[in-house]
Protein backbone atom coordinates (compact mmCIF):
# COMPACT_ATOMS: atom_id res chain seq x y z
CA UNK A 1 0.00 0.00 0.00
CA UNK A 2 2.76 2.36 1.04
CA UNK A 3 4.76 1.43 -2.03
CA UNK A 4 1.79 1.95 -4.28
CA UNK A 5 1.17 5.40 -2.79
CA UNK A 6 4.81 6.31 -3.25
CA UNK A 7 5.06 5.16 -6.85
CA UNK A 8 1.84 6.90 -7.81
CA UNK A 9 3.16 9.95 -5.95
CA UNK A 10 6.47 9.91 -7.79
CA UNK A 11 4.71 9.61 -11.10
CA UNK A 12 2.42 12.51 -10.21
CA UNK A 13 5.36 14.68 -9.16
CA UNK A 14 7.07 14.14 -12.51
CA UNK A 15 3.90 14.89 -14.45
CA UNK A 16 3.13 18.00 -12.37
CA UNK A 17 6.69 19.32 -12.72
CA UNK A 18 6.40 18.93 -16.48
CA UNK A 19 2.95 20.53 -16.65
CA UNK A 20 4.03 23.56 -14.62
CA UNK A 21 6.99 24.20 -16.94
CA UNK A 22 4.95 23.54 -20.07
CA UNK A 23 2.20 25.93 -18.94
CA UNK A 24 4.73 28.70 -18.33
CA UNK A 25 6.38 28.15 -21.71
CA UNK A 26 2.99 28.26 -23.42
CA UNK A 27 2.10 31.52 -21.64
CA UNK A 28 5.37 33.13 -22.76
CA UNK A 29 4.72 32.15 -26.37
CA UNK A 30 1.06 33.24 -26.28
CA UNK A 31 1.90 36.67 -24.86
CA UNK A 32 4.63 37.17 -27.48
CA UNK A 33 2.13 36.28 -30.20
CA UNK A 34 -0.31 38.81 -28.72
CA UNK A 35 2.30 41.57 -28.80
CA UNK A 36 3.31 40.71 -32.35
CA UNK A 37 -0.28 40.49 -33.50
CA UNK A 38 -1.33 43.78 -31.91
CA UNK A 39 1.63 45.80 -33.11
CA UNK A 40 2.38 44.38 -36.53
CA UNK A 41 -0.92 42.92 -37.70
CA UNK A 42 -3.35 45.06 -35.70
CA UNK A 43 -5.52 42.06 -34.93
CA UNK A 44 -6.95 41.66 -31.43
CA UNK A 45 -6.36 38.33 -29.69
CA UNK A 46 -8.78 38.18 -26.75
CA UNK A 47 -8.93 34.39 -27.09
CA UNK A 48 -5.19 34.04 -26.52
CA UNK A 49 -5.45 36.32 -23.47
CA UNK A 50 -8.13 34.06 -21.98
CA UNK A 51 -6.07 30.94 -22.62
CA UNK A 52 -3.00 32.46 -20.97
CA UNK A 53 -5.13 33.40 -17.95
CA UNK A 54 -6.37 29.80 -17.60
CA UNK A 55 -2.85 28.44 -18.01
CA UNK A 56 -1.56 30.80 -15.31
CA UNK A 57 -4.27 29.65 -12.89
CA UNK A 58 -3.49 25.98 -13.57
CA UNK A 59 0.26 26.61 -13.34
CA UNK A 60 -0.27 28.19 -9.93
CA UNK A 61 -2.50 25.52 -8.42
CA UNK A 62 -0.76 22.47 -9.93
CA UNK A 63 2.54 24.00 -8.81
CA UNK A 64 1.09 24.59 -5.35
CA UNK A 65 0.10 20.91 -5.11
CA UNK A 66 3.65 19.90 -6.04
CA UNK A 67 4.97 22.31 -3.40
CA UNK A 68 2.72 20.65 -0.80
CA UNK A 69 4.31 17.33 -1.68
CA UNK A 70 7.82 18.80 -1.37
CA UNK A 71 7.04 20.68 1.88
CA UNK A 72 8.17 23.80 0.02
CA UNK A 73 5.25 26.16 0.67
CA UNK A 74 6.36 29.51 2.10
CA UNK A 75 6.73 29.22 5.87
CA UNK A 76 7.53 31.82 8.49
CA UNK A 77 10.30 29.92 10.21
CA UNK A 78 11.05 32.27 13.09
CA UNK A 79 10.93 29.53 15.72
CA UNK A 80 12.71 26.79 13.81
CA UNK A 81 16.11 27.31 15.45
CA UNK A 82 14.66 27.01 18.91
CA UNK A 83 12.83 23.71 18.56
CA UNK A 84 14.26 20.30 19.33
CA UNK A 85 14.10 17.83 16.46
CA UNK A 86 11.60 15.64 18.37
CA UNK A 87 9.10 18.46 18.67
CA UNK A 88 9.85 19.44 15.12
CA UNK A 89 8.88 16.03 13.75
CA UNK A 90 5.61 16.08 15.67
CA UNK A 91 4.97 19.63 14.49
CA UNK A 92 5.31 18.45 10.89
CA UNK A 93 2.48 15.96 11.41
CA UNK A 94 0.36 18.76 12.87
CA UNK A 95 1.11 20.96 9.87
CA UNK A 96 0.11 18.14 7.53
CA UNK A 97 -3.18 17.69 9.33
CA UNK A 98 -3.85 21.44 9.27
CA UNK A 99 -3.11 21.49 5.55
CA UNK A 100 -5.46 18.56 4.99
CA UNK A 101 -8.29 20.33 6.85
CA UNK A 102 -7.86 23.43 4.71
CA UNK A 103 -7.77 21.38 1.51
CA UNK A 104 -10.94 19.44 2.39
CA UNK A 105 -12.91 22.67 2.87
CA UNK A 106 -11.37 24.14 -0.26
CA UNK A 107 -12.44 21.10 -2.29
CA UNK A 108 -16.03 21.47 -1.06
CA UNK A 109 -16.12 25.21 -1.78
CA UNK A 110 -14.48 24.81 -5.18
CA UNK A 111 -17.06 22.20 -6.14
CA UNK A 112 -19.88 24.47 -4.93
CA UNK A 113 -18.49 27.32 -7.00
CA UNK A 114 -18.24 25.13 -10.10
CA UNK A 115 -21.93 24.31 -9.73
CA UNK A 116 -22.81 28.01 -9.37
CA UNK A 117 -20.92 29.00 -12.51
CA UNK A 118 -21.72 25.82 -14.43
CA UNK A 119 -23.41 27.84 -17.15
CA UNK A 120 -20.80 30.59 -17.41
CA UNK A 121 -18.50 30.76 -20.43
CA UNK A 122 -15.43 32.91 -21.10
CA UNK A 123 -16.54 35.50 -23.68
CA UNK A 124 -13.83 35.14 -26.35
CA UNK A 125 -13.13 31.41 -26.34
CA UNK A 126 -16.42 30.03 -25.05
CA UNK A 127 -14.50 27.91 -22.53
CA UNK A 128 -16.61 26.95 -19.52
CA UNK A 129 -15.67 28.62 -16.24
CA UNK A 130 -15.45 25.16 -14.72
CA UNK A 131 -12.03 25.17 -16.34
CA UNK A 132 -11.00 28.23 -14.32
CA UNK A 133 -12.28 27.01 -10.96
CA UNK A 134 -11.46 23.36 -11.63
CA UNK A 135 -7.80 24.20 -10.96
CA UNK A 136 -8.69 24.80 -7.33
CA UNK A 137 -10.41 21.43 -7.06
CA UNK A 138 -7.38 19.77 -8.66
CA UNK A 139 -5.11 21.51 -6.15
CA UNK A 140 -7.23 20.31 -3.21
CA UNK A 141 -7.45 16.72 -4.39
CA UNK A 142 -3.78 16.42 -5.38
CA UNK A 143 -2.67 18.19 -2.20
CA UNK A 144 -4.76 15.79 -0.10
CA UNK A 145 -3.21 12.85 -1.91
CA UNK A 146 0.30 14.08 -1.16
CA UNK A 147 -0.52 14.72 2.50
CA UNK A 148 -2.02 11.23 2.73
CA UNK A 149 1.06 9.81 1.08
CA UNK A 150 3.17 11.31 3.87
CA UNK A 151 0.86 10.53 6.77
CA UNK A 152 -0.13 6.97 5.87
CA UNK A 153 2.51 5.86 3.43
CA UNK A 154 5.48 6.95 5.53
CA UNK A 155 7.37 5.24 2.75
CA UNK A 156 11.06 5.72 2.28
CA UNK A 157 10.50 7.21 -1.15
CA UNK A 158 8.22 9.87 0.27
CA UNK A 159 10.64 10.71 3.06
CA UNK A 160 13.53 10.99 0.63
CA UNK A 161 11.75 13.40 -1.66
CA UNK A 162 10.67 15.45 1.31
CA UNK A 163 14.12 15.71 2.84
CA UNK A 164 15.86 16.17 -0.49
CA UNK A 165 13.47 18.99 -1.25
CA UNK A 166 14.22 20.81 1.97
CA UNK A 167 17.91 21.10 1.27
CA UNK A 168 17.94 23.53 -1.67
CA UNK A 169 16.67 26.24 0.67
CA UNK A 170 20.00 26.20 2.45
CA UNK A 171 22.28 26.67 -0.54
CA UNK A 172 21.82 28.63 -3.69
CA UNK A 173 19.35 27.39 -6.27
CA UNK A 174 19.94 26.26 -9.80
CA UNK A 175 19.91 29.72 -11.29
CA UNK A 176 22.55 31.50 -9.22
Amino acid sequence: MANLLASVGNGLRRVLGFLVGAALFAIVILVCIQVFSRYFIGAPTPGLAEISRILFIWMTFLGAALLVSQRQLIVIDLLHDRLSSGIFTRLKVLVDIATAVFLVFLAVYARHLMIVVGQKIAPATGISFDWFYGALLAFSVLGLFFVAERLFGASRAGQETASAAEKPIAHEGAQS
Binding site: G42, P44, T45, H112, P123, A124
Partner: protein
Protein backbone atom coordinates in the same frame (compact mmCIF):
# COMPACT_ATOMS: atom_id res chain seq x y z
CA UNK B 1 -38.20 43.05 6.87
CA UNK B 2 -36.06 42.22 3.88
CA UNK B 3 -32.36 43.10 3.56
CA UNK B 4 -31.08 43.91 0.08
CA UNK B 5 -27.36 44.27 -0.54
CA UNK B 6 -26.46 45.87 -3.84
CA UNK B 7 -22.94 45.92 -5.28
CA UNK B 8 -21.68 48.35 -7.90
CA UNK B 9 -18.46 49.27 -9.65
CA UNK B 10 -18.78 53.07 -10.02
CA UNK B 11 -16.57 55.31 -7.86
CA UNK B 12 -18.28 56.83 -4.77
CA UNK B 13 -19.13 60.12 -6.50
CA UNK B 14 -20.07 58.64 -9.88
CA UNK B 15 -23.61 58.93 -11.27
CA UNK B 16 -23.85 55.11 -11.27
CA UNK B 17 -23.50 55.21 -7.50
CA UNK B 18 -25.96 58.12 -7.23
CA UNK B 19 -28.48 56.07 -9.20
CA UNK B 20 -28.14 53.33 -6.57
CA UNK B 21 -28.76 55.92 -3.85
CA UNK B 22 -31.86 57.22 -5.64
CA UNK B 23 -33.18 53.66 -5.73
CA UNK B 24 -32.48 53.21 -2.02
CA UNK B 25 -34.38 56.41 -1.14
CA UNK B 26 -37.38 55.44 -3.27
CA UNK B 27 -37.49 51.94 -1.75
CA UNK B 28 -37.34 53.31 1.77
CA UNK B 29 -40.07 55.81 0.94
CA UNK B 30 -42.24 52.96 -0.37
CA UNK B 31 -41.61 50.32 2.26
CA UNK B 32 -40.30 52.21 5.29
CA UNK B 33 -38.70 49.99 7.92
CA UNK B 34 -39.80 46.82 6.09
CA UNK B 35 -36.69 47.09 3.97
CA UNK B 36 -33.01 47.62 4.69
CA UNK B 37 -30.78 48.44 1.74
CA UNK B 38 -26.99 48.31 1.88
CA UNK B 39 -24.96 49.73 -1.00
CA UNK B 40 -21.44 48.55 -1.84
CA UNK B 41 -20.12 50.81 -4.61
CA UNK B 42 -16.62 50.99 -6.18
CA UNK B 43 -16.11 47.24 -6.49
CA UNK B 44 -15.79 46.76 -2.75
CA UNK B 45 -17.26 43.26 -2.99
CA UNK B 46 -15.11 42.33 -5.96
CA UNK B 47 -14.86 42.87 -9.69
CA UNK B 48 -18.00 43.07 -11.79
CA UNK B 49 -17.48 39.44 -12.86
CA UNK B 50 -17.15 38.33 -9.25
CA UNK B 51 -20.32 40.18 -8.27
CA UNK B 52 -22.22 38.49 -11.11
CA UNK B 53 -21.15 35.10 -9.71
CA UNK B 54 -22.10 36.17 -6.19
CA UNK B 55 -25.59 37.13 -7.38
CA UNK B 56 -25.85 33.84 -9.26
CA UNK B 57 -24.73 31.94 -6.15
CA UNK B 58 -27.32 33.73 -4.02
CA UNK B 59 -24.85 35.38 -1.63
CA UNK B 60 -25.42 38.88 -3.01
CA UNK B 61 -29.00 39.97 -3.65
CA UNK B 62 -28.44 42.44 -6.49
CA UNK B 63 -25.88 44.49 -8.35
CA UNK B 64 -26.14 47.69 -10.37
CA UNK B 65 -24.12 47.46 -13.53
CA UNK B 66 -24.56 47.15 -17.26
CA UNK B 67 -26.60 44.20 -18.51
CA UNK B 68 -23.72 43.29 -20.84
CA UNK B 69 -21.89 41.93 -17.80
CA UNK B 70 -24.27 38.97 -17.92
CA UNK B 71 -22.92 38.08 -21.37
CA UNK B 72 -20.91 35.14 -20.05
CA UNK B 73 -24.17 33.64 -18.73
CA UNK B 74 -26.53 34.52 -21.59
CA UNK B 75 -25.81 35.46 -25.22
CA UNK B 76 -28.65 38.04 -25.34
CA UNK B 77 -26.77 40.28 -22.91
CA UNK B 78 -24.00 40.68 -25.50
CA UNK B 79 -26.21 42.85 -27.74
CA UNK B 80 -24.77 45.71 -25.69
CA UNK B 81 -21.64 45.61 -27.90
CA UNK B 82 -23.53 46.04 -31.17
CA UNK B 83 -22.88 49.38 -32.91
CA UNK B 84 -25.64 51.87 -33.80
CA UNK B 85 -28.69 50.21 -32.28
CA UNK B 86 -30.23 53.37 -30.90
CA UNK B 87 -31.29 56.41 -32.87
CA UNK B 88 -31.66 58.45 -29.70
CA UNK B 89 -32.63 58.15 -26.03
CA UNK B 90 -36.35 57.82 -26.75
CA UNK B 91 -35.59 54.92 -29.04
CA UNK B 92 -33.41 53.34 -26.31
CA UNK B 93 -36.30 53.45 -23.83
CA UNK B 94 -38.87 52.30 -26.42
CA UNK B 95 -36.73 49.19 -26.82
CA UNK B 96 -35.89 48.45 -23.18
CA UNK B 97 -39.19 49.42 -21.62
CA UNK B 98 -41.22 47.97 -24.48
CA UNK B 99 -42.23 44.40 -25.31
CA UNK B 100 -38.95 43.54 -27.10
CA UNK B 101 -36.85 44.57 -24.11
CA UNK B 102 -39.19 42.71 -21.76
CA UNK B 103 -38.94 39.59 -23.90
CA UNK B 104 -35.11 39.70 -23.87
CA UNK B 105 -34.90 40.39 -20.14
CA UNK B 106 -37.40 37.61 -19.40
CA UNK B 107 -35.30 35.21 -21.47
CA UNK B 108 -32.25 36.15 -19.39
CA UNK B 109 -34.25 35.58 -16.18
CA UNK B 110 -35.58 32.24 -17.35
CA UNK B 111 -32.40 30.79 -18.89
CA UNK B 112 -29.64 32.38 -16.79
CA UNK B 113 -31.35 33.19 -13.48
CA UNK B 114 -30.84 36.95 -13.38
CA UNK B 115 -33.78 39.35 -13.01
CA UNK B 116 -32.98 42.74 -14.57
CA UNK B 117 -34.99 45.72 -13.31
CA UNK B 118 -35.02 49.41 -14.20
CA UNK B 119 -33.05 49.43 -17.47
CA UNK B 120 -31.25 52.79 -17.59
CA UNK B 121 -29.24 54.92 -19.98
CA UNK B 122 -25.97 56.49 -18.94
CA UNK B 123 -24.87 58.03 -22.20
CA UNK B 124 -23.50 56.94 -25.56
CA UNK B 125 -19.94 55.77 -25.98
CA UNK B 126 -17.53 58.11 -27.77
CA UNK B 127 -13.99 57.83 -29.10
CA UNK B 128 -11.17 59.61 -27.26
CA UNK B 129 -7.88 59.63 -29.14
CA UNK B 130 -4.32 60.82 -28.58
CA UNK B 131 -3.95 62.21 -32.11
CA UNK B 132 -6.35 64.56 -33.92
CA UNK B 133 -9.39 62.88 -35.44
CA UNK B 134 -12.30 64.57 -37.14
CA UNK B 135 -13.90 61.92 -39.29
CA UNK B 136 -14.32 58.22 -39.95
CA UNK B 137 -11.19 58.27 -42.12
CA UNK B 138 -9.14 59.44 -39.13
CA UNK B 139 -9.88 56.40 -36.97
CA UNK B 140 -9.01 53.84 -39.65
CA UNK B 141 -6.27 51.54 -38.39
CA UNK B 142 -6.00 53.32 -35.01
CA UNK B 143 -5.41 51.05 -32.02
CA UNK B 144 -8.39 51.44 -29.71
CA UNK B 145 -8.72 49.75 -26.36
CA UNK B 146 -11.62 47.29 -26.34
CA UNK B 147 -13.19 45.07 -23.68
CA UNK B 148 -12.42 41.38 -24.28
CA UNK B 149 -15.98 40.77 -25.50
CA UNK B 150 -16.48 39.66 -29.12
CA UNK B 151 -19.42 41.97 -29.96
CA UNK B 152 -17.46 45.08 -28.89
CA UNK B 153 -14.45 43.92 -30.86
CA UNK B 154 -16.57 43.25 -33.95
CA UNK B 155 -18.13 46.72 -33.73
CA UNK B 156 -14.83 48.56 -33.35
CA UNK B 157 -13.39 46.51 -36.19
CA UNK B 158 -16.40 47.29 -38.37
CA UNK B 159 -15.71 50.99 -37.88
CA UNK B 160 -12.20 50.38 -39.25
CA UNK B 161 -10.20 50.76 -36.03
CA UNK B 162 -7.94 48.07 -34.57
CA UNK B 163 -9.30 46.91 -31.23
CA UNK B 164 -6.68 46.03 -28.59
CA UNK B 165 -7.83 44.27 -25.44
CA UNK B 166 -6.23 45.91 -22.38
CA UNK B 167 -7.48 45.42 -18.80
CA UNK B 168 -9.49 48.44 -17.62
CA UNK B 169 -7.13 49.43 -14.79
CA UNK B 170 -4.17 49.60 -17.19
CA UNK B 171 -5.89 51.79 -19.78
CA UNK B 172 -4.62 55.15 -18.44
CA UNK B 173 -0.94 54.13 -18.55
CA UNK B 174 -1.44 52.21 -21.81
CA UNK B 175 -2.68 55.43 -23.47
CA UNK B 176 0.10 57.45 -21.87
CA UNK B 177 2.76 55.03 -23.11
CA UNK B 178 1.21 54.77 -26.55
CA UNK B 179 0.34 51.06 -26.33
CA UNK B 180 -3.09 52.14 -27.61
CA UNK B 181 -4.10 55.29 -29.53
CA UNK B 182 -7.29 55.79 -27.56
CA UNK B 183 -10.40 54.42 -25.88
CA UNK B 184 -14.12 54.40 -26.53
CA UNK B 185 -16.19 55.06 -23.41
CA UNK B 186 -19.22 57.07 -22.29
CA UNK B 187 -18.42 60.70 -21.42
CA UNK B 188 -18.96 60.11 -17.69
CA UNK B 189 -16.33 57.38 -17.69
CA UNK B 190 -13.91 59.52 -19.72
CA UNK B 191 -14.27 62.14 -17.01
CA UNK B 192 -14.38 59.75 -14.03
CA UNK B 193 -11.33 57.74 -15.13
CA UNK B 194 -9.48 60.96 -16.12
CA UNK B 195 -8.56 59.58 -19.56
CA UNK B 196 -8.75 63.18 -20.86
CA UNK B 197 -5.45 63.89 -19.13
CA UNK B 198 -3.61 61.64 -21.59
CA UNK B 199 -5.78 61.83 -24.75
CA UNK B 200 -7.17 65.14 -25.97
CA UNK B 201 -9.20 64.44 -29.09
CA UNK B 202 -12.84 63.55 -28.58
CA UNK B 203 -14.90 62.28 -31.46
CA UNK B 204 -18.63 62.30 -30.76
CA UNK B 205 -19.73 59.10 -32.49
CA UNK B 206 -22.58 57.84 -30.23
CA UNK B 207 -21.71 54.37 -31.49
CA UNK B 208 -22.99 52.29 -28.56
CA UNK B 209 -24.72 52.55 -25.22
CA UNK B 210 -24.75 50.22 -22.25
CA UNK B 211 -28.04 49.27 -20.62
CA UNK B 212 -27.59 49.82 -16.90
CA UNK B 213 -29.87 47.92 -14.54
CA UNK B 214 -30.44 46.30 -11.16
CA UNK B 215 -29.57 42.65 -11.67
CA UNK B 216 -30.83 40.30 -8.99
CA UNK B 217 -30.91 36.57 -8.47
CA UNK B 218 -34.18 35.39 -10.07
CA UNK B 219 -34.93 32.75 -7.38
CA UNK B 220 -34.43 35.37 -4.66
CA UNK B 221 -36.57 37.90 -6.51
CA UNK B 222 -39.39 35.41 -7.04
CA UNK B 223 -39.32 34.66 -3.31
CA UNK B 224 -40.16 38.27 -2.42
CA UNK B 225 -43.64 39.47 -1.44
CA UNK B 226 -45.64 40.90 -4.30
CA UNK B 227 -45.65 44.24 -2.45
CA UNK B 228 -41.83 44.31 -2.27
CA UNK B 229 -41.54 43.25 -5.91
CA UNK B 230 -43.82 46.07 -7.01
CA UNK B 231 -41.91 48.60 -4.93
CA UNK B 232 -38.65 47.27 -6.33
CA UNK B 233 -39.76 47.60 -9.94
CA UNK B 234 -41.22 51.04 -9.33
CA UNK B 235 -38.11 52.31 -7.53
CA UNK B 236 -35.76 50.85 -10.14
CA UNK B 237 -37.69 52.64 -12.90
CA UNK B 238 -37.65 55.84 -10.85
CA UNK B 239 -33.89 55.53 -10.54
CA UNK B 240 -33.68 55.06 -14.32
CA UNK B 241 -35.81 58.18 -14.84
CA UNK B 242 -33.51 60.11 -12.53
CA UNK B 243 -30.51 58.79 -14.46
CA UNK B 244 -31.99 59.83 -17.78
CA UNK B 245 -32.60 63.39 -16.56
CA UNK B 246 -29.16 63.49 -15.03
CA UNK B 247 -27.52 62.33 -18.27
CA UNK B 248 -29.51 64.89 -20.31
CA UNK B 249 -28.59 67.77 -18.08
CA UNK B 250 -24.99 66.76 -17.40
CA UNK B 251 -23.68 65.79 -20.85
CA UNK B 252 -23.26 69.39 -21.94
CA UNK B 253 -21.63 70.26 -18.63
CA UNK B 254 -19.24 67.31 -18.82
CA UNK B 255 -18.31 68.33 -22.36
CA UNK B 256 -17.61 71.88 -21.16
CA UNK B 257 -15.42 70.56 -18.37
CA UNK B 258 -13.50 68.40 -20.81
CA UNK B 259 -13.01 71.38 -23.14
CA UNK B 260 -11.74 73.40 -20.17
CA UNK B 261 -9.17 70.64 -19.66
CA UNK B 262 -7.92 71.13 -23.21
CA UNK B 263 -9.92 68.44 -24.96
CA UNK B 264 -10.74 69.20 -28.61
CA UNK B 265 -14.25 68.06 -29.50
CA UNK B 266 -15.30 67.03 -32.99
CA UNK B 267 -18.86 66.23 -33.99
CA UNK B 268 -18.68 64.45 -37.34
CA UNK B 269 -21.70 63.55 -39.48
CA UNK B 270 -22.71 60.11 -38.30
CA UNK B 271 -24.17 58.82 -41.62
CA UNK B 272 -20.90 57.37 -42.85
CA UNK B 273 -20.19 55.78 -39.43
CA UNK B 274 -23.62 54.14 -39.41
CA UNK B 275 -23.27 52.98 -43.00
CA UNK B 276 -19.82 51.48 -42.40
CA UNK B 277 -20.93 49.70 -39.24
CA UNK B 278 -23.95 48.26 -41.06
CA UNK B 279 -21.89 47.13 -44.03
CA UNK B 280 -18.86 45.64 -42.24
CA UNK B 281 -20.06 44.23 -38.95
CA UNK B 282 -20.19 40.51 -38.38
CA UNK B 283 -21.61 39.32 -35.07
CA UNK B 284 -21.85 35.91 -33.49
CA UNK B 285 -24.75 33.84 -34.84
CA UNK B 286 -26.17 33.39 -31.32
CA UNK B 287 -26.70 37.18 -31.19
CA UNK B 288 -28.44 37.54 -34.52
CA UNK B 289 -32.02 36.75 -33.44
CA UNK B 290 -31.81 39.39 -30.69
CA UNK B 291 -30.19 41.92 -33.02
CA UNK B 292 -33.00 41.42 -35.54
CA UNK B 293 -35.64 41.87 -32.85
CA UNK B 294 -34.13 45.09 -31.58
CA UNK B 295 -33.55 46.53 -35.05
CA UNK B 296 -37.24 45.97 -35.79
CA UNK B 297 -38.30 48.39 -33.03
CA UNK B 298 -39.40 51.67 -34.58
Amino acid sequence: GVTIRIGGAGSPDSPDTKAMEVFKQKMEAELGSDVSIQLFPSSQLGTVDEMVEQVKGGVLECMYESVGDLGSFHPAANVEGVAYFYRDEDHFFRIWRGPVGKEILDAIAKDAGFRVLGPAFHGFRQFLLTKPAESLADIQGRKIRAPGIPAYIASIQALGANPATIPFEEVYTAIQQGVVDGVEQPLVAIKDQRFYEVAKHLLITNHMAETMGFMCGEPWYQGLDKRVQDAFAKSADASADWYRDYTDSSQAKVLEELVAQGVVVHKPKLDEFIAKAAADSKYDAALQPYIDKIRAVK
